[in-house]
């Protein structure tokens, strides 16, 4: 699990000058320009549509699903797709479409919390390293390197062996893996901001490292972090699916795309399509988020876009 991949980091260079300098009309003109460019960026658009579908499926399933996803209906087991069951039923007669819709909630919850853990802790550590430099930076970066030795799956194996498998085990394991990813990217981008003249001016004006971090560093590295968060979200969905497939993630009766694949594998000869739907849902969600992340990187850092 997949871990994802640290080899696809967001661009480490911060864009432009301080965002606080953009005010009023200039700000709205920049937003309009961004929206215009976004609408002309085909892969960003495709990614945004796929990601919106994922969110829409999760939101719709909060208030409506064709059937309760865990409702067992043995007389109707392995039913073919029909008007009553759009994608058919599984070996226990549960409605596949309902499980897929509710499974989207699961992917989003894991993605949001796991990326949130990485973002909060990783950004704080990265900012600390950039602001303090010296031995603090060395300790933070060596700790980040060390954490990379524990892919999410290995952390989940250790936690699962002690506390038992579960959604929380998966979220914590994926979240821990995200911390060094964000710490490294934040530190790289923040160091670039710290070398700018306007930061030097702030320091000359007597502002301390925390004020400078809040006023200048974070607003200027936000775009880099947004891109990485999108890519890490996709990685978290993949990792959660793998953990649930292995039985270390989401547990019954909560539907999960990974566990649906595990259950479908035992029915490959009788109902092969059961192994196709959840995989397509995972792949389209991950593809959407990756395309959106790549598109955002192009849109937020035009210099990088020209190089690609």
């Amino acid at each position: 699990m997949p871990s994802p991949p640290p080899m696809r980091p967001a661009a480490a260079s911060p864009p432009g000058g301080p965002s606080r300098q953009r005010t009023g009309e200039a700000g709205s003109a920049a937003s309009a320009g961004f929206v215009g460019r976004a609408l002309r960026h085909p892969s960003f658009l495709a990614g945004a549509v796929l990601s919106a579908l994922l969110v829409l499926a999760a939101l719709v399933s909060l208030v409506w699903a064709p059937y309760p996803p865990a409702e067992i209906d043995i007389p109707n087991k392995l039913a073919a797709p029909s008007a009553a069951h759009w994608l058919g039923t599984d070996s226990l007669g549960r409605d596949i479409a309902s499980q897929l819709l509710v499974g989207a909630q699961n992917s989003i919850v894991v993605g949001v919390i796991a990326v949130g853990i990485g973002l909060c802790v990783g950004v704080a550590l990265g900012c600390l390293a950039a602001a303090r430099r010296g031995w603090v930076e060395e300790v933070v970066m060596r700790a980040a390197d060390f954490t990379f030795a524990f892919p999410a799956l290995l952390s989940a194996i250790m936690l699962g062996a002690i506390y038992g498998p579960g959604l929380l085990t998966g979220i914590v394991a994926i979240g821990i893996f995200n911390i060094p990813v964000f710490a490294r990217i934040t530190r790289g981008a923040a160091n670039a901001v710290w070398s700018r003249e306007y930061v030097l001016a702030s320091r000359a004006a007597g502002f301390g490292p925390w004020r400078i971090t809040l006023d200048h560093v974070l607003p200027n590295i936000a775009s880099v972090l947004i891109v990485q968060a999108t890519i890490s979200f996709a990685t978290a969905i993949l990792a959660e699916a793998a953990l649930s497939y292995l039985g270390l993630g989401t547990q019954p009766p909560q539907p999960s795309w990974g566990r649906m694949l595990n259950e479908a594998q035992t029915m490959l000869f009788q109902a092969p399509m059961l192994a196709v739907y959840p995989g397509v849902a995972i792949a389209l969600s991950v593809l959407g988020l990756n395309l959106m992340g790549d598109g955002l990187r192009d849109l937020l850092d035009p210099k990088l876009a020209r190089r690609r």
Binding site: M7, F146, L154, A242, L246, A275, V286, L287
Partner: protein, 320 residues
């Protein structure tokens, strides 16, 4: 070079020690009573006391940590709780499946990724480039275990060319043998290689494109070398630096991918061993397998670091 090597070796050893402390803390100290965890809620106090004695849990933690690490270094490991066999023997037996699988997957990844990446770069912004990049974007989005299931669906269920899983063994008896063993590993290796190759092909393409923009490449072309000669003699050697780094980073993904894919194809490797151990609450096996896998990741990253510095002398100069 010696300062660089000294620093890297010190970091490598420190990482290994820290990893061992973390694994020991998580699997031996955090659970509280390890014997209780292994035997479950219904265990009697007598059976718990007996297991504690057997596992040496009555000794102080520092002494247990010392005994575990020195045992690992000498190849003397504790007995598995469920198999009653030294974990080193169990792991060595399972590595006969996991190592060839990982090696085969890495070989396929390298061949596929380098060919596709170089092909895409040499046709920059043309149809071939767009096609390879689109395919790689899809490859990155596909979970390896789902691709493995799709391969089983096609080659085992529909075409019935291979069995849906299992491993016949490398020995000639009981229907095994070299060819039969390789045949059982080829689909899992393809499933593993697809995702890895998708990422590496993108890195190879952008690394080759970056080097092709360098002045020395223009000079090589100006002195009369053909495009192909320039690519093979100058571009590839320099483009391999970032590719090598990513291959090192991908190794951790390959390890975890192997664990997952082994479970899809029911292969008796390390992945199956560790999941059976979790099911049996065999923390001794989990502890030693996790430590072994982390050590492999750390060793590979160290080797890549050193190799990277050998390929790019600027790194050594900066570091020393």
């Amino acid at each position: 070079m010696s300062v660089f090597l000294f620093k890297r070796i010190a970091t490598f050893l420190a990482t290994l020690v820290m990893a061992s402390v973390l694994v020991f803390t998580v699997l031996e100290l955090l659970p509280g009573n390890v014997a209780q965890v292994m035997l479950g809620e219904t265990a009697t106090p007598e059976s718990i006391a007996s297991l504690e004695k057997k596992l040496g849990l009555d000794r102080p933690p520092l002494q247990r940590y010392g005994a575990w690490v020195s045992g690992l270094l000498q190849g003397r490991t504790a007995n598995s709780f469920s198999y009653d066999t030294p974990t080193a023997e169990l792991i060595a037996e399972r590595l006969q499946v996991t190592v060839p699988l990982a090696a085969l997957a890495m070989l396929l990844t390298t061949v596929l990724a380098l060919s596709l990446g170089i092909f895409a770069a040499s046709r920059h912004n043309q149809l071939g480039d767009v096609g390879v990049m689109s395919l790689s974007q899809i490859g990155i989005a596909i979970p390896s275990f789902w691709f493995a299931i799709l391969l089983i669906l096609l080659f085992a269920v529909k075409l019935q060319w291979v069995s849906a899983g299992g491993f016949p063994g490398w020995a000639g008896d009981d229907g095994g043998g070299l060819l039969e063993g390789l045949r059982a590993l080829i689909l899992p290796a393809i499933a593993l290689a697809l995702v890895q190759a998708a990422i590496l092909a993108r890195v190879t393409r952008s690394a080759v494109l970056d080097v092709m923009r360098e002045d020395f490449v223009r000079t090589a072309r100006a002195k009369g070398l053909s495009r192909r000669q320039t690519l093979w003699r100058h571009v590839l050697r320099n483009a391999m630096i970032p590719v090598l780094t990513i291959m090192g980073l991908q190794f951790a993904n390959l390890i975890t991918g192997t664990i997952v894919v082994e479970n899809v194809f029911v292969l008796p490797g390390i992945g199956r061993l560790v999941f059976q151990a979790i099911a049996n609450r065999d923390l001794v096996v989990v502890r030693d397998v996790v430590m072994g896998l982390v050590a492999v990741v750390v060793v590979v990253n160290f080797a890549v670091d050193v190799l990277y510095a050998m390929v790019d002398p600027r790194l050594k100069a900066n570091d020393a």
